[in-house]
């Protein structure tokens, strides 16, 4: 059932891939605007680069997450799947995994933009990829749940960030700190602790949200 759900999500993402480009442009534009706010101070740009990267990804994620349920609500297609019957948890994890992959791709695509704009390069690319993957997982699990909750209300674009942002502060904080240590250097070896913390938050989010999703869509 999970395979069927994931296959459907990936197919839908592929068919609406032009939106992914729009989201990337939105994220890249955010990074550009942040650089204007700091001005031509190379040291400060480099110092704040990790925060800006995650802020750009966070803002872009609200578009991606909301869109993932928009297609489901057009003809009540999601209700149709539930009535087949499909397991709500499988539908959730299918969607959350697809959103996670999309956000990871987006995060990876924004890294070169960050390097160019903020001169914030690093040689620890594998470590950075792991942090982006874990951070994107921290965004997508609760993001998919809340996108499901808000998909049926009128003010969904406003409600989703309002509900999501406070919940993901710990994961976001860990992502920013870990990324910052990778870019600016980690003489004390602190990044491992932040990555572990991020992984722990992901575990909690992915378990809890999967359990709650069934109640959210059925009740």
């Amino acid at each position: 059932m999970l395979t069927a759900a994931l296959r459907k999500e990936l197919l839908l993402q592929w068919r609406t891939r032009s939106q992914m480009m729009a989201v990337f442009v939105f994220g890249a534009t955010s990074l550009l605007l942040f650089s204007f706010a700091i001005g031509p101070n190379a040291e400060m740009l480099r110092t704040f680069s990790s925060g800006f990267l995650w802020l750009g990804l966070l803002l872009s994620s609200t578009l991606t997450l909301a869109e993932s349920f928009h297609t489901e609500m057009e003809n009540r297609a999601f209700e149709g799947l539930l009535l087949l019957p499909s397991d709500a948890r499988a539908l959730y994890y299918g969607k959350a995994i697809a959103n996670w992959l999309q956000l990871t791709l987006l995060g990876c695509a924004l890294v070169p933009v960050m390097v160019i704009l903020y001169d914030a390069g690093t040689t620890a690319l594998l470590k950075l990829l792991v942090i982006i993957m874990l951070g994107a997982a921290g965004l997508s699990a609760p993001g998919t749940l809340y996108a499901g909750i808000t998909s049926q209300v009128k003010a969904k674009q406003m409600l989703l960030p309002l509900l999501l942002f406070p919940l993901i502060v710990p994961a976001l904080l860990a992502s920013v700190k870990a990324t910052s240590l990778v870019i600016l250097g980690d003489p004390m070896g602190q990044s491992k602790a932040w990555i572990t913390l991020l992984g722990a938050f992901d575990l909690i989010y992915w378990s809890l949200c999967g359990l709650l999703f069934g109640r959210v869509v059925e009740d």
Binding site: M1, K8, L12, E74, N75, L83, P85
Partner: protein, 222 residues
């Protein structure tokens, strides 16, 4: 196919302060076709959505094949298919892909999908995205979805809506086929004469209440 009956006892459902269903009680014997008539807003769609487990009743109980629509939702869903006003289709995907998704989630082979598209007259448009389809074509595809489900109970909400004359014949043929397979069928429609010819009994709803229950031909002659 094992025959499955429907039993509805005092089911009521409200939207805000308005009762869409105000306590309806009836039974549908296994393997029969029941026409549900009534004006717009009489409660037909709400009744079907309750029976399909899309929404919960505020009062009363309903069972399908002995399974309660609230307590045993998944069991009811396994044997029930609904043709709803919402067609449950993904606009961005093709007709074939939409049915593939249904097949994958049901755990049945994709092999039968093209045959079903042929049956509902959409084989030549199998690879076209649903966004380019007319309302009638979407309805045909929704029928394809129901055929793929092979349900024991079928709830058809306005099956003739948006269809051309050839589509009307298609609906009649699908209903006959489902009946041959032993399915219990309820259909809400305004095509009274046409539906009465296919139905064993009829219900008439008015303001969420049953005002007539009896032979289908009596409704058609109203």
């Amino acid at each position: 196919m094992t025959d499955v009956s429907i039993d509805v006892q005092g089911v009521a459902r409200r939207y805000g302060r308005r009762w869409a269903l105000a306590g309806v009680t009836f039974g549908v014997p296994a393997g029969t076709v029941v026409m549900v008539a009534g004006r717009n807003g009489a409660g037909k769609s709400t009744l079907f959505r309750v029976l399909a487990t899309a929404i919960r009743p505020d009062r009363g109980t309903a069972t399908i094949g002995g399974f309660d629509v609230v307590k045993h939702r998944q069991d009811v869903r396994r044997m029930t298919a609904i043709l709803s006003h919402a067609n449950y289709l993904y606009d961005a995907l093709s007709a074939k892909e939409n049915l593939h998704i249904v097949a994958d989630h049901l755990g049945v082979s994709r092999g039968g999908v093209m045959g079903i598209l042929e049956q509902v007259g959409l084989a030549s448009r199998a690879d076209d995205v649903v966004a380019t389809f007319s309302a009638g074509m979407r309805k045909r595809l929704s029928f394809g979805r129901i055929l793929l489900q092979d349900p024991k109970v079928v709830l058809l909400d306005e099956p003739y809506g948006a269809l051309d004359p050839a589509g009307f014949d298609l609906v009649d043929e699908v209903i006959r086929e489902l009946k041959r397979r032993g399915a219990t069928i309820m259909m809400a429609t305004h095509q009274w004469e046409r539906s009465a010819a296919l139905s064993d009994a009829a219900l008439v709803l008015e303001a969420g209440k049953i005002v007539f229950e009896g032979p289908a031909d009596q409704v058609a002659s109203c």
